[in-house]
Symmetry: C2
Subunit: 128 residues, 2 copies
DNA sequence: GGGGTGAGAGTAACAGTTACCGTTAATTTA
DNA sequence: TAAATTAACGGTAACTGTTACTCTCACCCC
């Protein structure tokens, strides 16, 4: 049987913060926001719950583009754009190429479960 | 004028190690290999040169899929497959989708310079 | 209410990476 | 080719993001 997991106040707050933001925040940013709602929350708790939520598929961890992980409250696969100047992450509104996994599986013989794609360049504000 | 940059024995060794391997090693693995050729090389020197070579476009830094960076001596863009069991990285021999950057640029308005794609799943050895 | 236990707070430890500083050696100039 | 210049070196300490530890708390079922 699956391990029991409780929905604590802290975990709920962390999940809601991620679901209600369009940015792709770091653990530290989540911690700062969570402190406003649960003043004595611990940074360790934030990290623990981010990992728990990631393992249960409720959020996505984005660990590329910089030295720290960012988190995304939308668990559906989608692509991202990383601005090389301001280091912000943006969602890219193009459809996920569903057939790609099977194509790579047929080419390589590996069992392909999913893929990720990121685009790099300059965002609108940083273009000039 | 561009800053002068020297081709030292250490830098040369690091670049050759990366160009002559098919794996996608960590800085530490490169360090171990380099020590065989330059016994008193320092880990700091390995990191410094990996960053220099990455900045000059001679190698690629792959900073996703685990807690440490891996390096790839082939600077041409290509896709990678990450085995979620044995944590090895493999090259994927499908052509890079060149038109994608332009398509995303037209969709988003961002200036797209390049993209990366990684596939996740199980490699041949880990499938059974 | 009492016993069991998953999760919390607080903090120490850890890993990968970077920065510092005195020294060495690659390159330039003569 | 020898001297001068200075980027890069080796060795090490520090830094950063993350995880682990320990003790305590709060929830749940009877």
């Amino acid at each position: 049987m699956a391990k029991a997991t409780r929905m604590t106040k802290q975990k709920k707050v962390i999940l809601e913060i991620l679901q209600n933001t369009n940015c792709h925040p770091s653990a530290d940013w989540v911690y700062e926001q969570a402190k406003k709602l649960v003043p004595d929350i611990s940074l360790g708790t934030v990290y623990r719950n981010l990992n728990v939520l990631r393992d249960s598929g409720e959020i996505i961890e984005l660990n590329y583009g910089s030295t720290y992980s960012r988190y995304d409250g939308k668990p559906q696969n989608h692509y991202h754009f990383y601005c090389e100047k301001c280091t912000q992450l943006f969602d890219v509104a193009i459809p996920v190429y569903q057939g790609l996994d099977k194509m790579v599986q047929d080419t390589t013989g590996y069992e392909v479960k999913h893929h990720r794609m990121e685009f790099y360049g300059l965002c609108n504000q940083c273009r000039e």
